[in-house]
Every structure is written in structure tokens, then in C-alpha cells.
């Protein structure tokens, strides 16, 4: 009888988190600390300079509250880019990480199949690490909020932030971001699977190998078709760019209101269906199938070819 149950999955997810804690926990903590400390020191040491140089904000027709929400939304995009980069490197290394320190024999001594281990690694990349980064984005938002409160003391236009910001607004932004990130990660799953599969073959060379294969595909297609485009190029362009194109379409749509403070959950209520409508779901599901195939091949390679 298989021993692969929820307790096992949780234990393996925890192991993945501990193993990659530096990238997904320590690095964001360091980034936030450095930025916060720099701003605090900037205010403390160069308060007058700040007042002068940020004076134009007061002249703009935006409130501190709007500015905070805009910064918050952009910072989430920044965290998403950070997450995507980190996940790309995570998948490139994690599929072969168990071989580090000769530990593969230990992992193989556990009553868990190679496919189960690879599946949990994928799950960690899709759930644990994105949630960790989302948590950090909330912490960053909190720090931004505090900084705005401090700035509000000498930039009067920003003083409204304390009274206007409410929990529902944050939920609207964070919830919409969560949906966007979840769909983006699911869309990128075959790319993660591909770099993971390469990682099982070539270990630390997975990222260069991935880039090389993409370039090679593009060059071969150009030679074959004697043109700059083609099926492979279009496929890759869509795979890499679709989530961002979709969100751009949503925000540029005349029917979509970008007002996050329109009342209740109307922003997220408008955003989610509008964003989902932009997704190519056939492409999404095909991507999952391709990713499943990549993960299965990687697990079989690990089972058959990686000698103890």
C-alpha cells in the first residue's frame, strides 16, 4: 500500500522549503530590509532634500492613497518577476538537488517513489514558494504604508493615507494579484517542467541549456522557413508573453475600472472574470499535459539512470 498521504506531502513540502529557504525567504527579507533602511535613513539624514524633491507629488492631482495603491500594485508586479526568476532557477536545480552531498541514496531509502518526489517538488514551486513571496509582498506593503504615514507628516497631500486605506482595498489588490500569479504560474508550468527535466540531465547547466535549446529552435526554424517567424517562435512568444499581454488587455479595456476603492470587492469581482476571459485555456491545459510528460520523464530518468 502506498504511503503517499497528506502527512508525507506536507513533510516533503517542508523539506523543499527548508532547502530553498534562502532564495524565497532570506533574499526577500534582505531586499525589504535594505530598501526600508535606505528610505528611513534617507528621511532621517536628508529630510529636507526629500521634501524638496518629492514636492511635485503634492502638485499632482493624485492623493497619497492613490499613490500608495499604485506603488503597491507595481511592487506586486516586481515580486512576481522576482518569483518567476527564482522559480525558474528553483526548477532548474531542485529536480537534481537530491543528488547533492551524495544524499540521493538517503532519499531513495524512503518509501516514496521518484514520481511522487518530483510531483511534490513541482507542488512546492506552484504553492509554497508563491505563497511565501505573496506574504513578503504583504510585508512590503505594510512597510510602504508605514513609510507613507511618515512621509505624510511633511507631505500634507499624503496625510490622507491613514484615514482612507482600509483592509478591503488591500484584499482587492492582493486577491487580484493572487489570481494573476496563480494563473501565470500555471501558464508557465511547461517551461518550469522543461527546465526541471533539463536539470535532471545536466544539473547546474539546466538554465544555459534551456536558453540554448530555445535559441537553437528559433535558428533552425528560421533556416527551415527562411523567415523570422514560424510555429515554434509563435508558440514561445505566446508562452512567455501571454500572461502579461492578458493583464495589459484587461487594464486597457474601456469597460474595466481600475478604481480599487470602488466599494466592497467590486475591483476583484471585475478583474478576475476579465482576466480569465483573456486566457487561452486550450493552451493552458496543453501546457499542463506537456509539463506532466516532462515531470514523468524526469522521474523515470531519476529512477532508472541515476545510479546509486
Amino acid at each position: 500500500m502506498s504511503n503517499f498521504n497528506l502527512k508525507t506531502i506536507k513533510a516533503l513540502l517542508k523539506k523543499e522549503f527548508i532547502e530553498h529557504k534562502v532564495a524565497f525567504f532570506n533574499v526577500p527579507a534582505i531586499i525589504i530590509s535594505i530598501v526600508t533602511i535606505t528610505i528611513i535613513f534617507g528621511i532621517l539624514v536628508n529630510g529636507n532634500e526629500w521634501r524638496v524633491k518629492t514636492k511635485y507629488i503634492s502638485n499632482m492631482d493624485i492623493s497619497g492613497f492613490d499613490l500608495f495603491n499604485t506603488i503597491y500594485a507595481f511592487s506586486i508586479m516586481g515580486w512576481l518577476v522576482f518569483l518567476l526568476l527564482m522559480l525558474f532557477f528553483y526548477f532548474a536545480s531542485s529536480f537534481s538537488a537530491d543528488r547533492k552531498d551524495n544524499a540521493l541514496l538517503f532519499w531513495k531509502s524512503l518509501p516514496i517513489s521518484d514520481l511522487q518526489i518530483m510531483s511534490v517538488k513541482t507542488l512546492a514551486g506552484l504553492i509554497v514558494f508563491p505563497l511565501t513571496i505573496m506574504l513578503w509582498s504583504l510585508v512590503a506593503a505594510l512597510f510602504t504604508f508605514i513609510i507613507f504615514l511618515v512621509l505624510g507628516a511633511f507631505l500634507p497631500v499624503m496625510s490622507d493615507i491613514g484615514s482612507q486605506t482600509n483592509f478591503v482595498t488591500l484584499l482587492n489588490i492582493q486577491g487580484s494579484a493572487l489570481v494573476f500569479i496563480a494563473i501565470t504560474l500555471l501558464w508557465y508550468l511547461p517551461l518550469f517542467g522543461a527546465v526541471g527535466l533539463l536539470g535532471t540531465f545536466v544539473r547546474g547547466w539546466a538554465v544555459p541549456a534551456f536558453i540554448l535549446l530555445l535559441l537553437l529552435g528559433k535558428i533552425l526554424e528560421s533556416i527551415f522557413t527562411l523567415s523570422n517567424g514560424g510555429y515554434f517562435s509563435d508558440l514561445m512568444s505566446e508562452r512567455f508573453g501571454a500572461p502579461f499581454e492578458a493583464i495589459s488587455n484587461v487594464f486597457s479595456s474601456p469597460n474595466f475600472s481600475t478604481n480599487v476603492d470602488a466599494g466592497g470587492f467590486s475591483f476583484i469581482g471585475n478583474f478576475v472574470p476579465a482576466y480569465i476571459a483573456q486566457i487561452n485555456w486550450i493552451g493552458m491545459v496543453s501546457g499542463w499535459l506537456v509539463a506532466a510528460i516532462f515531470i514523468f520523464i524526469a522521474s523515470e530518468y531519476r529512477r532508472r539512470r541515476i545510479q546509486a
Binding site: 500500500m1 502506498s2 504511503n3 502527512k7 508525507t8 506536507k10 513533510a11 516533503l12 517542508k14 523539506k15 527548508i18 532547502e19 537530491d98 547533492k100 552531498d101 551524495n102 544524499a103 540521493l104 541514496l105 538517503f106 532519499w107 531513495k108 531509502s109 524512503l110 518509501p111 516514496i112 517513489s113 511522487q116 529512477r303 532508472r304 545510479q307 546509486a308
Partner: protein, 294 residues
Amino acid sequence: MQLEETIVKVKGLSKKFGNKEILHSIDFSIPKGRIYGLIGHNGAGKTTAINALLGLTSYQGNVSVLGLEPFKNRAKLMQNIAFISDVASLPRFLKVNQILDLMEDVHPKFSREKAKQFLAESDIVGNVKIKSLSKGMLAQLHLAIVMAIDAKLLVLDEPTLGLDITFRKKFYKRLVEDYMDENRSILITTHQVDEIEYLLTDLIFLRDGKIVLDANMDEIANKYTQVLVSPDTIKKANTKNPIFKTTQMGQNIMIFEGLNIEEAQNLGQISTPSTSDLFVALMENKSSNIGEIK
């Protein structure tokens, strides 16, 4: 009989790496309640044979461990098998407590209490990263983890390699006193063969991928005789076809196979050859292709 229930059954096990055949159609079986020593030179095929039993490598032939084909059922098999193939194989990024947590959640037959009991006598503390442990501590931790698994088969491939004699003695003592019972079997490979001789019930010698001896210790004692040959009987002793001859401090020592006890006593002072002497005898005797003692 309950004790004779077979844990491992191997028939015609062969393994090739490229064109090189590492194992040449070997047969053996391990019943319940036995401690087997798998002995051979480096490159004899010991680790390959063990990897086949553990489902870590593909092979040709029929292998059944606890009724399962290992390569297809490694995960399932590992519920009832514990093994150490390399003392340094624990993941270094975890802390001691974290690896115990992991084992507790992942392995249905792991007992944290037992592991803690085994660790109690060591200097290992829970809140320490595995990478900061010394080689000896690492081995102690790994062995504590493995011995805390209620397994039917324990496979130890050079478990004490590189460790000092005190620790080795302590480990093997503990293995017999605290771990071994009639429901388990143990398969050990080691180069320090004399150290484990007293705990073995059976021996398998591998040479160049072939089994040259597969027998229990009683059979070995009955079949092989070591004689400290008196100077006046050397000529006569040589006519009895000793499988091994050596001189130590001016004394002639010969090992005979199948020589009856009266004949042996007439040649000199008799004893049962030690495992290491028998190993050297059978490894150096190229004509020996003894296989299983019938």
C-alpha cells in the same frame, strides 16, 4: 518453519555496465532471522548486487525481496527495508530534529522514540545542522535513523567506513543486542571482515561478479580446516591439496577443503579458519569455483 521464511531470493542475477558484465548470473537467498556477510574485493560486484536488491538499479534475472520485484517496487519495498549505502549520505541542509520530523512523517515504520534512545548516548543534539556534525556523529545519526525503522531487512553497505574502532565495535554490538531479532535479516558488506565475523550467521564471497562461497558458519567450520602444519608433515600435507598456503613467523599454515578431522589432526594443530583467512584463501585460489555448499 517460520524462521526459514525467505526474505531475499535471487536467481540468475546479472548486471552489465556497457559491455562490461559486473554480475554473472548469481543465485542466493536470505532467509528470515539471519545475518549475512557479503564479502568481496573492490569491484567484485557487492554494491551492484545490493543496489539490485534495493531496486536502485535495473538488472537481468529474477530478484524477489519480500515477495516484490525491487526495481518496479522500490517505494513499496522501502517500507520494510532499511539501508545505509554510504554513511555520508544524509541531507546536510537539515537539522537533526528536522530529519527526525521528516522520517516520522514519511516512514510508517520509523520510531522517533527509538531513534532518540539510540542518540541519547551520543553527543548529537537536535538543534544542530547535519552539515556541522563530525564524520563519526554523522554515522551515528544515520545508524540511529536506520535502526529506528522496524524493517524486515537491513542492508548495510560499508556502514562504518572511515570510523574508528571504538565506534565500530559499539555499533556492531548494538546491532546485535538492540536491533536484531528472529524476524529480521541483515545483509552487511564490509572490508573489516574480522570485526563482524562473530555476528554473522552466513557468508557469501563474491569474486569478479561470481559467488565463490555461500554457506552458513557451521557449514564453513565443517568444510574448511586450517592446519598449523608440523615441519615433518609438510610433504604429506601438500599431497592433500590445500586451497591456501602461507607462512607466518616461520610457521606453515594451510587451509584445506573437505579434509576429515582425523587426517587434519595428523598434519598438525587444527582450527577453523578465520573469515579473513578463508576469504584470502578463496580469492587467491583461482581454481575455486565452489559456489553454494551442498
